[in-house]
């Protein structure tokens, strides 16, 4: 391997690593706030990418029907919960608004605007507007009724959601993969290294998103409320921070990060309905490096995963996945040597 190839692989690794890092942050966040090991994270990546690809192909993405269906389901369960209680009439409008009116308005918009002819930026925004609300809706339908259940039960539910979403992905987008055109053409030449425009887009957007997230958690009251819930659930409830609100918000952030990552990688690799799962799991490997609790360590671990993947695809391309997933063995050894005997769960 010469320097040229090493630089190329490194660039590849960092690009993928940046995506994994974003996902690992979302995974750590969701776990800390809701104790859900968010296996379906990757499906949001695939939905984001494939929804965008549908728009570009001038088709109506199936995720629109999912949004409408999920919206109806959420409206039904929420209304049933609210109607029994006289003091919450005011909430009815917001329930109907977000779960029924919003999807319908979006559907009309998509129908009228002919997304295939819109500029890319508008398509991206539409794709996000369509996929991101599915996050909190998933929380409402699958996880909120089980908020007090053990990590184990929540994990099985997460796997169930993963199964359902992968199956729906196949139904909506078919078994064919899609690839979208790059956000912009051209490349940047730094000495002997040529960096593709999409790589810059990925790195720039990931960094921006990480900075925005850091600002959100450090400086805004809702960000602090999420951190407070992760630290001390009872304490947070006593401040009036509802567990449901925290859960929905963390799922919203996770689906935003997921769908956005999907949009970013769609021009780099061909995305299939089940591609997201492996991508999400690589984010998990990063999150495990951070012991599911440290954001910086998780991000670093994810970068490491990206680099390892890039270099092993050069040395032993058939065993790329094996090498990446075996990385967690030394991490687990290290964790088990440094962690003390665990106390009881539940």
């Amino acid at each position: 391997m010469d320097l040229q190839i090493a630089l190329l692989l490194g660039q590849d690794g960092i690009t993928n690593g940046a995506i994994y890092a974003l996902l690992s942050l979302a995974l750590v966040l969701v776990f800390a706030v809701t104790r859900v090991i968010f296996i379906p994270q990757g499906e949001f990546v695939a939905f984001g990418a494939l929804t965008l690809a549908s728009f570009q192909a001038g088709k109506v993405p199936g995720t629109l029907w999912l949004l409408i269906g999920a919206g109806i389901a959420v409206a039904v369960v929420d209304l049933r919960a609210v109607l029994g209680r006289s003091r919450q009439r005011r909430r009815i409008f917001s329930i109907l608004g977000w779960n029924l009116v919003y999807p319908v308005v979006l559907a009309i918009l998509i129908h009228l605007a002919k997304p295939g002819e819109l500029p890319l930026a508008a398509q991206v925004i539409l794709a996000l507007a369509l996929v991101v609300p599915l996050g909190p809706m998933t929380y409402r339908l699958a996880f909120q009724p089980l908020a007090e259940a053990s990590v184990l039960v929540l994990l099985i539910v997460a796997v169930g959601v993963h199964f359902a979403l992968v199956g729906l992905g196949l139904l909506f987008f078919g078994a064919e993969g899609s690839r979208t055109p790059a956000f912009s053409d051209g490349s940047l030449t730094l000495g002997s290294l040529t960096v593709g425009a999409q790589t810059l887009w990925v790195l720039g957007s990931s960094l921006t998103l990480i900075v925005v997230l850091a600002f959100f958690f450090e400086r805004t009251i809702y960000g602090k409320a999420l951190r407070a819930t992760a630290m001390n659930r009872t304490g947070a409830r006593l401040m009036g921070i509802s567990t449901v609100m925290a859960g929905k918000l963390s799922f919203l952030l996770a689906s935003l990060i997921g769908a956005f990552s999907g949009v970013l990688i769609a021009p780099i690799t061909t995305v299939y309905y089940d591609t997201g799962f492996l991508i999400g799991l690589k984010g998990f490997v990063g999150a495990i490096v951070g012991a599911l609790s440290s954001y910086p360590l998780a991000a670093l671990g994810a970068l490491l995963v990206g680099l390892l993947e890039a270099f092993s695809s050069f040395w032993a391309s058939a065993f790329k996945e094996v090498i990446v997933f075996t990385l967690i063995i030394p991490v687990l050894v290290w964790l088990s040597l440094t962690t003390h005997q665990v106390e009881e769960e539940e």
Binding site: I221, A225, R227, A228, R237, L238, I241, S242
Partner: protein
């Protein structure tokens, strides 16, 4: 009978709580009048914490009515109680250990976060006037505070919500006598600001000295009640604590 002097802020009746098959609180009732300090004392395991948790909505109530300022709050959850102006400082303090003192206080005002930054800064200044120590440590992590400072922060954080009713669970727990005195001085002073207080304490003498009215809880039942200054010398209170009853 009861806290008759003022309009009741909180009135609970017939409150029962069970853990599985075991009933920990039987048909308890009490009233807290406007601007009053009412204390519930009793030995360990009597069900004091259970009672506060049930009122707050942290524990499911198997029966009973909870009336706050004339509004029925029977099925209310924790967030609803906070929204109505009821705040609980739990025995564990439940601080956010890896956040600064200031962030802890800001989160205390979460229920009123729409009131604007200026209003909150003003409330924080008021709170700092009561607890000057916290102002010195405003950027320190809550987890690094001493026991007494933690209790002060817990109290201060609850005050940030501008509660109408403040419920305190064992504020003296595990604190040295000098600090206990400080805490009770603050509790006494709060009365002047118009907030009503429901105080649960094991430290019976301190609680009785600061309170207007008291209930004695024993094995999940209200065994005794009356104006504090009458109960303070009641031999039955001493008995229930030291178990002298069985000797005679």
């Amino acid at each position: 009978m009861g806290a008759t002097a003022a309009v009741p802020v909180l009135e609970i009746s017939d409150l029962c709580v069970s853990y599985g098959k075991v009933e920990a609180l039987h048909h308890a009732g009490l009233r807290v009048g406007q601007g009053q300090i009412v204390t519930v004392i009793g030995p360990n395991g009597a069900g004091k914490t259970t009672m506060l948790s049930a009122i707050m909505g942290l524990l499911p109530r198997s029966r009973g009515r909870i009336c706050f300022q004339g509004v029925d709050l029977d099925g209310a959850e924790v967030e609803d109680m906070v929204a109505h102006g009821v705040n609980l400082v739990p025995e564990s303090r439940a601080l956010f250990g890896e956040m600064s003192v200031e962030d802890n206080l800001l989160l205390g005002a979460f229920s009123r976060h729409r009131s604007g930054l200026r209003d909150q800064a003003q409330t924080m200044e008021e709170v700092f006037r009561v607890f000057p120590r916290l102002k010195e440590r405003r950027s320190q992590h809550a987890g690094t505070l001493s026991g007494g400072e933690r209790q002060m922060l817990a109290l201060a954080r609850a005050l940030m919500a501008k509660p109408k009713l403040l419920m305190l669970d064992e504020p003296s727990l595990g604190l040295a006598p000098l600090i206990v005195r400080d805490i009770f001085r603050v509790i006494g002073a709060l009365k002047a600001t118009g907030v009503s207080i429901l105080l649960v304490e094991q430290n019976a003498r301190a609680a009785l000295q600061v309170a207007d009215y008291a209930y004695v809880l024993e094995t999940g039942e209200i065994a005794l009640e009356g104006p504090s200054r009458e109960l303070i010398d009641d031999p039955k209170v001493v008995e229930s604590y030291l178990g002298l009853g069985g000797k005679r």
